[in-house]
Symmetry: C2
Subunit: 200 residues, 2 copies
DNA sequence: TTCAAAACATGACACTTGTCACCTGCAAGT
DNA sequence: ACTTGCAGGTGACAAGTGTCATGTTTTGAA
């Protein structure tokens, strides 16, 4: 019997998947969470074989959890189930050595089989990702990301400078550099593009 | 037997709900669509008792379809199933006299019963909406929305002015007005907030 | 009819943004 | 030892942005 927990903040999908997976003879849903912290707690308490997680959840993202489990050398296998085929997310998931990365755009019929494959030691990656994976990787450095993140929250150059203890000229240089790399003309476009690609 | 069709562009959710509903003795899923035009075609061809639709779908939104069915005085009952509790969407759905407006954040267990209630002539509205419906309505006028939309795409004041045949001073006045109404200090924050609330 | 709101406009002012050229210091690689 | 690249910096300039006061015109509701 494969014991799994589900972490997904959209109740309708979580409930539906939970019911469906429970119908399988060899799969048992032993816990469900609608946020990251709850999910992590359940994993520690219940020691499931597999956890099926969304990425964007309240409190803690699925990727955060995957990284923590990797560091703790947990035996719980991780399958990410998300809407987003963002290269940034996928890259991070691969680094965290997740056992599966599936898209919500995929078929629900294949889900149970994917879980079985993962239990058998295979890795299940949505085909869309393997091909398009590193075609577009994040051209921004750590620092540049940090600055763009702050800009995206609506901060002005001066405020960004203050919170990073930089001069405002430096901040503007970074933003200029970022816009150059992203081939856009304003910080607003840069923010849109970076958020879109999941680089933020 | 209640004959229904499902229209939802996220395959995983549509598949899962389809399988679940088909397990009910008195419900039969006779068609599924992943875009609005396909859904409308199916409704005309198969004459289902109920159609369960998302709002944001390719080609045609669920609200567009609901309005068309209302005009055509179709006997097919419409249930909207969406992520968004946006007052704007809900208002439009009510005007289109939909029979149900449920949230993807609701329980999947209640779905079948909601469908039965709708067939029995009741209306099923997510409680979150009835109460919070008009608490926070869009403070921006049509024109202001239009300008903020253009700003959100990264256009400068001058570019917005050009595309609307206004002077750039007028555009800046609007943006200033918008930021005042939204109580923020920059257009970036205004964009974030408006997108967040679904006013865009 | 009258009044208020929305839409549109101008000009002026201070500040922010984006660009550029040019500078230092430091930590890899080769 | 030397180059390269990242991080950080300066100063100057043009353009864009946000604010204000002050108008006109149109339009819909009381």
């Amino acid at each position: 019997m494969i014991r799994i927990i589900l972490a997904e903040d959209q109740r309708m999908l979580r409930g539906a998947l939970g019911s469906l997976l429970d119908l399988e003879d060899d799969i048992e849903v032993i816990g469900q969470a609608d946020n990251g912290e709850e999910a992590l707690k359940l994993i520690h308490e219940l020691k499931p074989d597999v956890c099926l997680m969304d990425i964007e959840m309240p409190l803690l993202t699925g990727l955060d959890i995957a990284e923590q489990l990797q560091m703790a050398k947990s035996s719980c296998k991780v399958i990410i189930l998300t809407t987003f085929a963002r290269p940034g997310y996928f890259e991070r998931a691969v680094k965290a050595e997740v056992h599966g990365y599936l898209l919500k755009d995929g078929s629900s019929d294949d889900l149970a089989q994917s879980i079985r494959n993962v239990m058998a030691g295979k890795r299940e990656m949505a085909p869309e990702l393997i091909f398009g994976a590193f075609k577009e990787k994040n051209p921004l450095s750590e620092r540049e990301c940090e600055i763009l993140r702050l800009a995206s929250s609506g901060k002005t150059s001066n405020e960004i400078a203050a919170s990073l203890f930089l001069s405002h000229g430096t901040v503007r240089n970074y933003l200029s550099e970022i816009m150059g790399k992203l081939e856009v003309k304003s910080r607003i476009e840069a923010i849109k593009l970076a958020e879109d690609k999941g680089w933020l």
